[in-house]
């Protein structure tokens, strides 16, 4: 299956932790690809290596072996600095927690990325931040500190912070695990819109309800890929 839209490809990725006797291979010879315009899921039991794989695909965790080709470039052949710039220009992240700075408002968090990352003038920053807050449904909460936002709102700020620089690749590690489904659904819908707007979205999740939103699903077990599923089929398989 060769798809012209493939933007991110992992080839023979292997990663282990520890030395000698305690060494354990966590991701074993995994090859997989992701396309622009799709929201892809990485599924698997706890400890199966999903997060480790996501780290390698996103430039945060160095693989022992294998290659990550992203937007036509070999991610792990770049220098540290080049990889950092690559992440700045192309990658958005959200993690399990929102990890917002307690002293800064929702608006500050979004501004900071544009000011520090892209050095845009204030007028441009303001416009984009206001637009993004609107998109997140936080138009009237921009001035609030994290302590005054609900869990879902915080996670939306975190997503906004990752989306505001309009990345072509978006990595999310269990972004909904700390949220109830009402809020979780919002987050997933936002990510799907992002994907359908042309970005490549890779999400690690445990939540079977998300399967219905996915365009592509990879399953991991003991660090090995079981194969890619069609979404509907996997939804059935994935149901507990």
């Amino acid at each position: 299956m060769i798809d012209a839209n493939v933007t991110l490809e992992g080839r023979d990725l292997t990663r282990s932790f520890g030395d000698g006797d305690t060494r354990s291979v966590v991701v074993h010879d995994v090859s997989l690809e992701f396309c622009a315009g799709e929201m892809s899921l990485l599924l698997g039991p706890s400890g199966s290596g999903k997060t480790t794989l996501l780290g390698m695909l996103s430039g945060l965790l160095q693989p022992d072996e294998g290659q990550v080709v992203v937007l036509g470039q070999d991610l792990w052949h770049m220098s540290e600095r080049e990889r950092e710039l690559f992440r700045l220009h192309h990658c958005g992240f959200i993690f399990q927690g929102a990890n917002l700075m307690p002293a800064l408002t929702a608006r500050d968090h979004l501004e900071m990325v544009l000011r520090w990352g892209e050095r845009l003038p204030w007028s441009e920053v303001n416009r984009r931040v206001t637009d993004m807050l609107g998109l997140l449904g936080l138009s009237r909460k921009g001035h609030l500190l994290p302590e005054h936002l609900s869990g879902g709102e915080k996670q939306r700020v975190a997503i906004g912070r990752a989306l505001i620089k309009q990345p072509r690749l978006f990595f999310a590690d269990e972004p909904t695990s700390a949220l109830d489904w009402e809020h979780g659904k919002h987050v997933v819908e936002l990510l799907r819109e992002t994907a359908h707007g042309g970005a490549t979205v890779v999400m690690v999740t445990h939540d079977p309800r998300i399967l219905n939103y996915a365009d592509r699903i990879y399953r991991l077990e003991d660090g090995r890929l079981l194969g890619a599923d069609a979404p509907t089929e996997s939804a059935v398989l994935g149901a507990p």
């Binding site: 997060t51 996501l54 992440r87 992240f93 800064l104 975190a158 590690d173």
Partner: protein
């Protein structure tokens, strides 16, 4: 104006940062006040020079400060008079003696005998014309108001005591001459000669001179010094500085005060850097997200150092009024604290530097910022 992120962080965590701000402020106050006390104390040692009109002081060779002169021959006056620029020359006595309190007991005192006429170069300008008239009486003296206790006197004016077995009578009080050595006793040259019998009639401790134009002083000093190596020739300014430096280095009051200041600085440094370190370490995950998103490391470092800047600024702005108030208060109780602008500026500079250094030290916690740690 938008508030910088660092300032927002500081304000939000003000309870956490308050001790650091107080520590910085405390060390700044301590440095300023300690140095002010030092300056004030040292100023008293050279005040007889600073408050006299003489421009050139001649004494025995190798005299490190005004207290450590020795009798010199009156004949040296001719050497000065021979200089065309010199307008006026006169003698000066400065010697330690025993003061016998009226109620018993004795005390060191320091006798300053000078000519008293209006054109006098040696008499301190604190002596009013009225006092100068009274001082022409044999045995009449003027002392500092704050020394009365030490001299065993009650109200001063009108009271008598003995110096070297000779009766003296207080005719006036001056202020600001509370010496670290022993009380100053101002009197006429004639009275001083009567009290200090070890001086020959043709001896002085210093010879003072004035030039027609003060611009000539350096040249005259230089010429005399080259010509007569057996005498010390100093401008009033140099002699004053030399005297204060002698006291600074010789007595080690400077050392004691300096050490306390350094200690205060270290405490400020440690508290500030630990506070910032802890605050930064508590935000590692937040900073890691910024790094994952590709925001440069230096932005985060700047964020931390800026916080130390605000801590420094907060501490300093609290300390300047506090130091000035303490200075006022000290003046009130008779201690002298000098807080010239340059001292305040230096204190601010040192304190801000220390605050920024603590910020830089706190940066070591940023080594722990690792985006991969977010993948848990």
């Amino acid at each position: 104006m938008r508030k910088p992120y660092s300032l927002k962080i500081l304000w939000h965590g003000r309870n956490r940062f308050l001790p650091a701000i107080l520590a910085v402020s405390f060390s700044a106050v301590l440095i300023a006040v300690q140095s002010g006390v030092l300056l004030g104390t040292l100023a008293v040692t050279s005040r007889p020079i600073d408050h006299a009109a003489a421009q050139i002081w001649i004494g025995i060779r190798d005299m490190p400060s005004i207290e450590l002169g020795h009798p010199i021959p009156e004949a040296w006056m001719f050497r000065l008079q021979a200089q065309p620029e010199v307008e006026d020359v006169e003698g000066y006595l400065y010697e330690f003696a025993y003061w016998h309190k009226p109620g018993g007991g004795s005390e060191h005192c320091c006798i300053i005998g000078a000519r008293l006429e209006g054109s006098s170069m040696g008499a301190v300008n604190d002596l009013t014309p009225q006092m100068r008239t009274l001082l022409t009486e044999p045995g009449a003296i003027v002392v500092d108001a704050t020394d009365l206790d030490r001299l065993g006197l009650k109200h001063g004016v009108g009271e008598s005591a003995e110096i070297m077995g000779q009766k003296v009578r207080v005719v006036g009080l001056v202020h600001g001459f509370k010496s670290i050595w022993g009380p100053y006793v101002f009197c006429s040259m004639e009275t001083a000669r009567r009290l200090l019998t070890m001086y020959g009639a043709d001896q002085y401790q210093y010879i003072l001179a004035q030039c027609r134009s003060s611009a000539d002083v350096p040249a005259v000093v230089e010429r005399l010094q080259r010509r007569y190596p057996e005498m010390s020739v100093l401008s009033d300014r140099d002699f004053s500085v030399q005297t204060r430096l002698y006291w600074l280095t010789r007595t080690r009051i400077g050392v004691a005060l300096g050490l306390t200041s350094i200690l205060a600085l270290i405490v400020g440094l440690v508290i500030t850097s630990q506070t910032l370190y802890a605050a930064t370490a508590a935000s590692l995950r937040e900073y890691a997200v910024l790094r994952a998103l590709g925001l440069p490391r230096w932005r985060i470092s700047t964020l931390v150092v800026s916080q130390s800047f605000w801590i420094g600024l907060g501490g300093v702005s609290a300390s300047v009024p506090a130091a000035l108030l303490l200075g006022r208060f000290a003046g009130f109780v008779g201690a002298e604290i000098q807080l010239p602008i340059w001292l305040l500026a230096a204190t601010i500079a040192i304190t801000m530097t220390i605050a920024l250094v603590s910020g830089l030290l706190a940066l070591r916690s940023l080594r722990l910022v690792e985006p991969a740690n977010l993948l848990r």
